[in-house]
Structures are given as structure tokens and as C-alpha cells.
């Protein structure tokens, strides 16, 4: 499945405080987060981003706090994938866990400029820059993470495994209808 969209380009160390400032954290409602996404770094972002667009950045994207509001805000803004030279650790796992696709590809990240058109194939990791006519390939996600993403995120993954966990691991509270016996 490939997605087309425009590039919103940023530099190194885009932190979670600029992706969604703490002053907006008293609500985790999507529309609210989308409205203030990237506000302190790129005040025009929220009004100009369109569904399918990409955020492309250099190293250490999403550094800072563990707030899941950051990937949620990007997802709520319609961003279909974040491409970066590298990701901060917690941002990476949060994005996987909530189902915001991301690709790590320094070459593609450096090559892209604001406003250019990309076509990304999440399955193969191919990133085609339609404006420049070049293509780069991101390293694929490890199988375990692909499983979580394929399930639709960690919650769905855990829910799907619930009966198995109840049986194999003897975790009774994972059984539907069971009472938590630690209570």
C-alpha cells in the first residue's frame, strides 16, 4: 500500500515540547491536539497539513518527554508517516504502539525539502521523492514490531492475545468475564 503526500521538513532534535506543548496536555482529545501540533516550531503546520502528508526530519525526532500526545497529535493532524534520520526511543515505541507509521532513513530524510511530493510504500520501505525523481529504501521494521503494527497497535495486539495469555501464562484476569483474583 503506498501513500502520497507533501513534505513538512524539520531539522535535528525535534522535541515533544514543540510537537505538542505541555500547556495543551490537559486534554488528550484528537482535534484539540491536532489544532496545536507543532505550534511552537511551525505555527502554520496545523492549518496547512492535509491528510496523507509526511513529516520528515533529521536525527533524534521526538526526543524529550514520554507524552504519547506527541505521536497522537501528529496522527490526528492527518500525518500518514514520519520519516527521520533517527527517532528518540520513547517516541519510536509510542508511535508503534498507537499505529503511527514511521520509517528510519537518513538518505531520504536529508534529500527531502519542504513542499516536495513523496510516495511511500510502508510494506517495502520504499520512499520515492516524486519532485526530485529519486528513491530511497528504509530498513524494514523487525518482525515482532511488524506484528504489533499489523494488529493495529499494542492494545489490539494484547486484546487478541488475551485468551492465549489466560491459558498459557495462567493469567486469569485476561479471560473475558473472569474476576481479577488479586482483588
Amino acid at each position: 500500500m503506498s501513500i502520497k503526500g507533501r513534505v513538512f521538513k524539520y531539522a535535528d532534535n525535534v522535541d515533544t515540547d514543540v510537537i505538542i506543548p505541555a500547556r495543551y496536555l490537559s486534554s488528550s482529545e484528537s482535534a484539540h491536539l491536532a489544532r496545536h501540533c507543532m505550534e511552537d516550531l511551525d505555527p502554520g503546520f496545523a492549518t496547512s497539513v492535509r491528510p496523507g502528508d509526511f513529516v520528515v526530519a533529521l536525527a533524534n525526532f521526538g526526543c524529550g518527554s514520554s507524552r504519547e500526545h506527541a505521536p497522537l497529535a501528529l496522527k490526528a493532524s492527518g500525518v500518514s508517516c514520519v520519516v527521520a534520520s533517527s527517532f528518540a526511543r520513547i517516541f519510536f515505541r509510542n508511535a508503534v504502539n498507537i499505529g503511527l507509521p514511521l520509517l528510519e532513513c537518513p538518505e531520504a530524510a536529508e534529500a527531502a525539502s519542504k513542499g516536495e511530493l513523496l510516495e511511500i510504500d510502508l510494506g517495502s520501505g520504499s520512499i520515492r521523492n516524486l519532485t526530485r525523481g529519486c528513491e530511497h529504501r528504509a530498513a524494514g521494521l523487525p518482525p515482532f514490531i511488524r506484528e504489533i503494527v499489523a494488529a493495529g497497535g499494542l492494545i489490539e495486539y494484547t486484546r487478541a492475545r488475551r485468551p492465549a495469555m489466560a491459558a498459557e501464562r495462567g493469567i486469569p484476569w485476561m479471560r473475558k468475564g473472569a474476576l481479577c483474583d488479586t482483588l
Binding site: 515540547d17 514543540v18 505541555a22 507524552r67 520513547i90 509510542n94 495486539y157 493469567i171 481479577c180
Partner: protein
């Protein structure tokens, strides 16, 4: 394959004999932590899993600290979501205001983390507990939700950077100066996906409070965790907070490290991180003429009793510079009370500082001391990103309690030893070391 300390703790929680760097594993968690910002999201996600209860009502900790005492209606709702969930699930470790504190000071103080344990928290500074020789790391709300249901979390086993400490701190230098210096060397992503493993004969010279400060900021170098070896001081600390049994782990001889950074503690100077990155460090003696509007002393990084003692030793009998604000926020109720008994609170108030209840408040630009456009703060907190403490056009300089207190008196960044005679290091651990 020889393993690092972190890898051994992870392996012990997966049931595997050994784990290797880069491997993805699912591990059992000893404690799952959340706060008033991250837990409400986690609770909403938890409900979607459809589990009938939490995996263990004694192994979840919920701390309303960021916007508590409730700063507005929205945050009141968030705290209420957490309170209601704690009640309905029978969660034992829910800390209402009155007994609460900033989570990363509170959790160790309550004895909820001990050496060798594995803790995840939906807060990036969960790495603080590496100070006691535990593996602890920050995760997101969804991780928290899944772990509350299953007691499990997925990890990529980290490589490690060895931080070899020698010598001992002197004068006004502290654990904060060490960690700022280290982040300056590594950069904000220098330890990305890796653990920072402290080693060397400099370790036992650091007090527990200093170790907490250092491990707290591991994330600021991008690290998954920062961990200290367990020693006599750790054991003494553990016995003072909990009677629970625990297991000690240490790195195998010959464990692989991606690099080693050697730091001589005696060579450090009071250090400050300039805006807008924690890695933007320099010795405060080379800071130039930087005037400040507000000094903030506290947080999960430097809101412990030793930090308050140092700040009070500078502020006692002096005055906060005219036109300058100084805000002190002890990290927990217990620390607050201790500071009160020791006369530190009196020293702060007489100097013209305000003392806030235990809350994250100003640290994240939440409440209790927001900066206006163009204002500058020196803070003992851990982040100085754009807009971190208020207006996107304000600035935050990160420093130790000594530097922040000296700045409060001088009205600008100064090396404390320029104005105040450096104390002999008489902390308890010095004699023990």
C-alpha cells in the same frame, strides 16, 4: 556471552538464560507507573483491552503530580479519572495530594523500587531508579495500559556505554554538574537506544541523592536507562525504605560496551546548560554576563533533601536579588517536612524565596511559575527545550541547586565559589566511601 548489568536484569525478567543487544524481548515488570498526564490516556486504552482487572493491584503506582493540586478544570478531570480508576481496580499505590510528591522522588522513597527490579513508567524520567541498581525506563501510555493488563512489556535489549568515574566531587560541584557534563560530551542523542552504565571507584563517593539526579537525566542523552552498581550505600538505603527482599546484579567481566567515557569527578566545575538543549553545556565560570529573572529549585532531578540543604546554605542570611523571583519546590511531602524541621524552609522564606507544595508545576511550564516572553530562568530541572517553562520566547538554563541559589542572590549566572566559600564536602557518604 557476558552481559551488562542492564542486560542481566532484563534476562532475569524474561526467563531466558541470556539476552543479546538488539534482541526484542517481552519481559515481566515489577512495577508500572503513571501520572496525571499519561495515566488517563492509559486508562482509556486499558479499557479497550477488555481485561477484567489489573495484573496485580500492588504493582501499579499512580501519582498525580504534574498539574496537581489541580490547576484547572481540565486537570481536575484528569486527576479524577485516575482516582476513580485506582479505586475501582483496588490499586494500592495511588498517592493523593497530602501524601504525594513528584513520582520519581516518591517511588523510591516509598520503597516501591529496589535493586534488580524492572520498572516501566509512562514518564520519560522513570530512568531515575537506575540509581538504586534497578532497570527502569520510560514508556508511553499505551505501554502502560498493556502492562497494567498483562504485567508484560516489550523491549529492545540495549547496548551500553560505560561511564567510568574516578576521583571525587569537590567544592560546589555535584551530581548535577557531572550529568550535565556527560550530556555535553554525549549530545542529546549520543546514547540513543543504549544504556549508560556507571562504573569505577568514583561511584561509591556519590550519595544516593546524587545518583538519583544523575540517573534521572540519562534520558537527556537519549539513553534507555542509566544504572549504578549496587554498593554498601545502596544496601543501606534499600533497608531504610523497605523490608522486601531483592536481588543484586552486576555486569559480567568482559561485557561489551559500545564505548567508554572516562570522567574524573575532581576535574568538574559547576556547569550550566544553555538554551535550548541539555547538551549545550559550559562551565558557569565561562557563562558570561547572563542576567536571570527566576531561579527554580526543585523537581525530580534536584528536589531532594541534599539539594535543598545546598540551596539553603547559600540563601540563608542573604536576600534574593531585587526584582528576581526564586521558587523552591521540594519533591515530596516527606522532603518538605524534613526541610521544615531542619529550618531550610525558614531560610528560603527569609531570603525572599517562595516555597511551593510538591508538584511538577514550573518544571514543565504547567503552573506555579510560568515564564513570560523574553524571561530567563535558571532551573535545577532537566529540560530546557523551547517553551519548556512557559513562553516559547523564554529561556531556561539548567544548573545545580548551588548555581541556581547563587544566581538567585546575584541576579545573574555566577560560579557560586566566586561569591560564597565552597563548603567542605561533609556529606555522610564521604566518610563511608
Amino acid at each position: 556471552m557476558p552481559m551488562t548489568m542492564t542486560q542481566k536484569i532484563i534476562a532475569a525478567h524474561t526467563g531466558a538464560e541470556a539476552v543479546e543487544a538488539g534482541e526484542l524481548v517481552e519481559a515481566r515488570v515489577d512495577l508500572v507507573l503513571g501520572n496525571d498526564i499519561t495515566a488517563p490516556v492509559a486508562i482509556r486504552e486499558f479499557e479497550k483491552i477488555g481485561a477484567q482487572g489489573v495484573f496485580d493491584r500492588k504493582r501499579i503506582a499512580l501519582v498525580p503530580d504534574h498539574f496537581a493540586p489541580n490547576k484547572d478544570i481540565a486537570s481536575a478531570e484528569q486527576c479524577k479519572t485516575m482516582r476513580d480508576f485506582a479505586r475501582s481496580m483496588g490499586i494500592e499505590h495511588y498517592f493523593e495530594i497530602g501524601e504525594m510528591g513528584i513520582e520519581h522522588a516518591l517511588i523510591p522513597e516509598k520503597g516501591l523500587v529496589l535493586p534488580g527490579e524492572l520498572v516501566i513508567g509512562a514518564d520519560s524520567h522513570t530512568c531515575t531508579y537506575g540509581a538504586v541498581g534497578a532497570f527502569s525506563t520510560g514508556v508511553g501510555s499505551t505501554d502502560m495500559a498493556a502492562a497494567m493488563a498483562s504485567g508484560l512489556a516489550w523491549f529492545k535489549v540495549p547496548k551500553a556505554i560505560r561511564v567510568e568515574l574516578s576521583g571525587a566531587l569537590s567544592g560546589w560541584t555535584s551530581g548535577k554538574d557531572l550529568v550535565l557534563h556527560l550530556i555535553g560530551i554525549l549530545g542529546v542523542d549520543g546514547a540513543l537506544y543504549e544504556s549508560l552504565e556507571f562504573a569505577g571507584q568514583g561511584c561509591p563517593t556519590l550519595s544516593m541523592d546524587e545518583r538519583f539526579t544523575i540517573a534521572n537525566m540519562a534520558i537527556e542523552a537519549g539513553a534507555k536507562n542509566g544504572i549504578f552498581p549496587v554498593d554498601a550505600l545502596t544496601r543501606e538505603w534499600a533497608a531504610s525504605v523497605s523490608g522486601r527482599a531483592y536481588r543484586e546484579y552486576s555486569a559480567d567481566p568482559g561485557a561489551a560496551y559500545s564505548r567508554t567515557v572516562a570522567i574524573d569527578l575532581s576535574s568538574l566545575e559547576p556547569t550550566v546548560a544553555f538554551p535550548h538543549l541539555p547538551s549545550n553545556t559550559r562551565a558557569v565560570s565561562r557563562a558570561g554576563n547572563v542576567s536571570v529573572d527566576q531561579a527554580v529549585i526543585g523537581s525530580c532531578t534536584n528536589g531532594r533533601i541534599e539539594d535543598l540543604r545546598v540551596a539553603a546554605s547559600i540563601l540563608r542570611g542573604r536576600k534574593v536579588a531585587k526584582g528576581m523571583r526564586c521558587i523552591v519546590f521540594p519533591a515530596t511531602q516527606k522532603i518538605y517536612l524534613q526541610a521544615l524541621r531542619e529550618g531550610l524552609i525558614e531560610a528560603f522564606i527569609e531570603a525572599g524565596a517562595v516555597v511551593s507544595t510538591s508538584t511538577c508545576g514550573p518544571c514543565l511550564g504547567g503552573h506555579m511559575g510560568i515564564l513570560a516572553k523574553g524571561e530567563r530562568a535558571v532551573a535545577t530541572t532537566n529540560r530546557n527545550f523551547v517553551g519548556r517553562m512557559g513562553s516559547p520566547e523564554s529561556e531556561v538554563y539548567l544548573a545545580s541547586p548551588a548555581v541556581a541559589a547563587a544566581a538567585a542572590v546575584a541576579g545573574r549566572l555566577v560560579d557560586p565559589s566566586d561569591i560564597f566559600p565552597a563548603p567542605a564536602r561533609t556529606r555522610a557518604n564521604k566518610e563511608k566511601a
